[in-house]
């Protein structure tokens, strides 16, 4: 085990135990105020728990009277905002970690350049932080955190403050750099968990509600939060240049990143509300269609959720009545290619 942490904080109703293996990326999912960020603060040494211990790679960081200060923990924290030091250039921001560990200026800058290259921000090296866009700033912040060579990287909703248009590109950067990094990522976004994490831990009301492989948690959610976020339709398969093909379905969609090559593992994601339901396949339009058997019909807000195996469609009550749906009915689910996001998996 790389990280073992137990912590309880009475004020925040937090009482958790969490383990992260070396090289593993764990996603902490949960509603606002559940205690996800508090867990990160405890691990980073920014918040002293009432009781508990933190052990990282055999080193005791917190236990009883033992208290290792944040700078000596080997734990880097990446927050929602890039928080780049405004008075330093991008290069010197990234060189800050190596410099603080006592390496020479030249060596630190060389390390910084390597990490800037890694996140695709080489050309930003000489800029000041105020000359960067939000997405550029966060790329640099990722490089800065990694340049410190942390044993553990903590990411606190690293994409929550960014424009949705640029999150897919940044997610790809994170996916690449987290490949060999032990990390905990706090997120609201199911896709982050799905694409970046090896394992999902759901935190509710200050304690751990469930934990497991992402697909398992989504397929059989045991916590309320997981069930709520599991509402998205996911199709896993291989990208053939046009569509994600699984054994029994093919979904045409828009890759969020251009570096997806035919044959790559991919996942197509679309919202149930984007799915239309027909009795017979509609002709002409550029839609994905799949013939399915209805497995359940349930109310979902002011709509009707039609489930068919692992897929779901949200339609109006009137449409459901028109279609004369019942469990077992054979229908066609249809979704526009423009409503389908495709991600490398």
């Amino acid at each position: 085990m790389s990280l073992e942490v137990t912590a309880s904080i009475a004020d925040r109703h937090l009482d958790i135990g969490l383990e992260v293996a070396t090289g593993e990326v764990v996603a902490l999912l949960g509603p606002n105020g559940a205690g996800k960020s508090s867990i990160l603060s405890v691990v980073a040494g920014l918040l002293r728990p009432d009781a508990g211990s933190t052990v990282l790679n055999g080193r005791v960081l917190t236990s009883g009277s033992t208290w290792v200060p944040p700078h000596a923990r080997g734990v880097a924290l990446l927050a929602q905002d890039p928080l780049l030091f405004p008075h330093l250039s991008v290069l010197d921001n990234v060189a800050f970690g190596p410099r603080s560990s006592g390496r020479s200026r030249a060596e630190s800058r060389a390390t910084a350049r390597r990490w800037l290259d890694e996140v695709g921000a080489t050309e930003l090296a000489d800029r000041k932080p105020h000359q960067l866009s939000g997405g550029q700033g966060q790329r640099v912040a990722i490089a800065r955190a990694l340049a410190a060579e942390p044993e553990l990287l903590l990411l606190d909703e690293p994409m929550a403050a960014l424009d949705v248009a640029i999150t897919p590109a940044l997610r790809q950067v994170l996916k690449r750099v987290l490949h060999s990094q032990t990390a905990i990522i706090v997120t609201h976004d199911l896709l982050d968990a799905l694409l970046l994490a090896d394992r999902v831990v759901v935190v509710e009301d200050g304690s751990i509600a469930e934990s497991g492989a992402c697909a398992d948690v989504l397929a059989r959610p045991r916590s309320g939060f997981a069930a709520r976020i599991a509402g998205l339709n996911l199709v896993r398969g291989r990208w053939d240049g046009q569509a994600v093909r699984s054994d029994d379905i093919s979904v045409t969609g828009m890759p969020a990143e251009s570096d997806l090559a035919p044959g790559d593992a991919a996942v197509a994601v679309f919202r149930p509300s984007a799915v239309a339901v027909f009795r017979a396949a509609p002709g002409g339009s550029p839609r994905n269609t799949v013939e399915v058997a209805v497995s359940a019909i349930e109310p979902h807000g002011d709509q009707i959720r039609v489930r068919a195996g692992s897929l779901a469609a949200d339609i109006t009550a009137a449409a459901a009545a028109d279609l004369d749906l019942a469990p077992g009915s054979s229908v066609v689910f249809s979704v526009k290619a423009t409503e389908v996001a495709v991600y490398p998996a």
Partner: protein
């Protein structure tokens, strides 16, 4: 009155007392300028006693400002970045010289460092005589100027917040490195304006100085004391020297004007 866009506008009557107030500040300066004896100005400000006073003022104010930095920066850090019981009381104590009449400050210093003061005997044993020396001038100035630095810097530290410091620490920077490479550069504008305000306050110090340090030419007679003395014998010299202090004040305000951002 035209208002800028995005401004909801001010009630018209506000401008009347505002203008009166500004006039109240400006008029005495104009009155003083009108009394300056321009023909003899250079002679008046370059007399032996004037030059000695100016030199002493600049020297003691500079040392006082350095002392304010030496003690005020750590004080501001402790006030802004820690919390402990009695901190509010301590802050009030630090700010006391700001509201205390300087004469009272001078008396307090006299009973601390004076020959018969609290530390006077100890200092005398050590062969140190502070009262009525240039050292006393520096102490008096530091005493009244210190709160200016602490207040400015504490405000700057609180505004800057700790978020950058937290990031720096998690990147492996020790507290001293964080202070040197992150905290200090971030609050530099606040530190500069605090230091300039302290310098200005030290330069204008009168009450505590005359009480605690006396008025010996070249030793403790700073420019404000010189002006006060000259006023009784040579009003023209007093006005000319006053103008010198006004010029210094203008420079100080130009350097420390608020709203300048570090980019």
């Amino acid at each position: 009155m035209r208002s800028r866009t995005g401004n909801v506008g001010l009630p018209g009557w506000v401008f009347v007392p505002a203008a009166a107030g500004m006039l109240f500040v400006a008029l005495p300066l104009v009155a003083m300028l009108s009394r300056v004896d321009w023909a003899d100005f250079v002679d008046l400000v370059s007399s032996e006693s004037s030059v000695a006073a100016l030199r002493l003022s600049l020297k003691t104010s500079t040392i006082s400002t350095l002392l304010c930095l030496l003690f005020g920066v750590p004080m501001a850090l402790v006030l802004a970045r820690t919390s402990f019981r009695g901190q509010g009381l301590l802050r009030a104590l630090v700010l006391l010289p700001l509201v205390l009449p300087p004469v009272v400050g001078g008396i307090a210093l006299l009973y601390t460092f004076g020959r018969r003061g609290l530390l006077g005997h100890t200092l005398e044993v050590l062969g140190v005589q502070i009262a009525f020396s240039t050292t006393a001038v520096v102490l008096a100035q530091t005493f009244v100027a210190l709160p200016f630095l602490v207040v400015s810097l504490e405000g700057a530290l609180r505004t800057a917040g700790q978020r950058y410091e937290v990031v720096a620490a998690t990147l492996g920077a020790r507290p001293t490195t964080v202070f040197r490479r992150v905290t200090l550069p971030l609050v530099l504008p606040g530190l500069v304006s605090g230091a300039v305000l302290s310098f200005a306050r030290a330069l204008g110090e009168f009450g505590a100085t005359i009480t605690f340090a006396g008025s010996l030419q070249g030793v403790t007679r700073t420019l404000p004391l010189e002006i006060y003395l000259q006023r009784e014998t040579d009003a023209d010299a007093a006005v000319a020297l006053s103008l010198v202090l006004v010029l210094v004040a203008v420079v100080v305000i130009a350097v420390a004007r608020p709203g300048r951002e570090l980019r």
